[in-house]
Amino acid sequence: MNILELLTTDFILNAVIGGLILAILLSVLSLFIYVKKWSFINVGISHAAFGGLAIGYIAGISPSITGSIFAVIVGILIGFLSKRGKFHEDISIGILLSFSMALGVILISFSNNYNSDLFSFLFGNILTITREDITTLGIFTVIAFAFLYVYFKKLLYCCFDEEVAKVSGVKTDFLYYSLIVLMAIATVLSIKLVGSILASAMMILPAATSSQIFWHYRSIVVFSIIISIFTVVTGIFISFEFNLPSGSTIVMVYSVIFFVITAVKRFLK
């Protein structure tokens, strides 16, 4: 079956559309994770989402809703602890991450399809992306982009120097927690595509890869979007062609691109 034939298949078309929307959304968010050096916070949130998904799954509520709520709460808690500086953020993230994962695994162990459910939450199942998922993703992406359009420069200023931005009249706390909430919800929405373990990679790799080539934020965002679209589409087709797990394939393609660009850059220096 060639690419065009594949796209006539409903579930592949859903996967590609969902994947493309996510690729664009996560690429833009990845800039802030890169400049804030928030990759570990992002890993913490994506693992925390797993606990929330499991709660919804067992309670018979939409896992996306419980996952989002749980991820937002954990994200805000991590953000609060990091900001207050009472705990070292690595420790607070480590504890919350382990707690959420343990909770999720225990709850899912009550399910009849323990292995397959656990696997799809952890590593994603692109075939399960529905039209409703795409609608939810689309609505969230529009809201997220509207927010980013209004606050992009202010967010960048906060990432550059929060204290100075505050003195300039920027509402730094509002932006700090808003960014965490956006990250948390985007993470939960990307779980069907790549799973909770790999969701953070989708938000770390785009800007990390682009910044190997470009130094200015505008070029980094544009190249991140291009590279993410390429990676998601290529990953989906490779996974379908060779019967591989889609999320892992996408992350693998991403990682290979990152390593190749980094190696070429070092070689050229």
Partner: protein, 259 residues
Amino acid sequence: MIEIKDLTVIIDGKIIIEDINLNIEDGEIVAIVGPNGGGKTTLIKTLLGFITPSSGVVYIDGKNPKGFIKESKVGYLPQKSSYEKDFPVSALDVVMFGLINEKIPKSQKIRKAMEYMKYVGMEGFENYPFGRLSGGQQQRVMIARALISQPKLLILDEPSTGIDVVAQENFYEFLKKINQDRGITVIMVSHDVGVVANYVHKVAGLNRKLHFFGKPKDFFQTNVLNQLYGSDVNLLIHSPECITCQHFMPDKLLEGIKH
């Protein structure tokens, strides 16, 4: 401009600043000096509204610091030796951050930012990655960012950190020029008592308590240095008017100066 009355700041049960009274007039340059841990940065952060006083009050133009910052513009340069090397912004972007809340067209913001880049002697570096500039160049760009909003008050925390001695003196000369050109009140924290004394109107000697507040020449004529730093202090003053400095100058150099 600034009125500090009976200010005490206690953080985690420790008294950082105790019972300070201070008045700073419009258009003055004031240096806050003192040993490490003496409360200099805490005082600055209290002036900026980041720290709430445990007792006492701070008024800036009759308002509390948060109220003043909300309504007026404050230029602030934090204590930082350098910024992230790979932070993805240009020098011009950084200067334009200073106009973040201004409702003017982008083209006007760019034009204004270019003007300020020129004013701080950084013309030609507009599209250069900010993180790759030297410490002194970054300071100049940060100053342009702080000035572009045309603040009434400029607060600088250790502005000479990461800058070599020559660049430091140029920097202080530059501050003096800004103060003269625009009448901005400048408050700066510094370690270099001997250097800043040449450029400021007043010195505040702070080590938990305010041990001195007055003109620089009086600062060196009292035993305040011993009170401030807790032991005998040898001070090296860099000044063209300093007669004793000549003892350390090589004869040939002295002759050159005489001619």
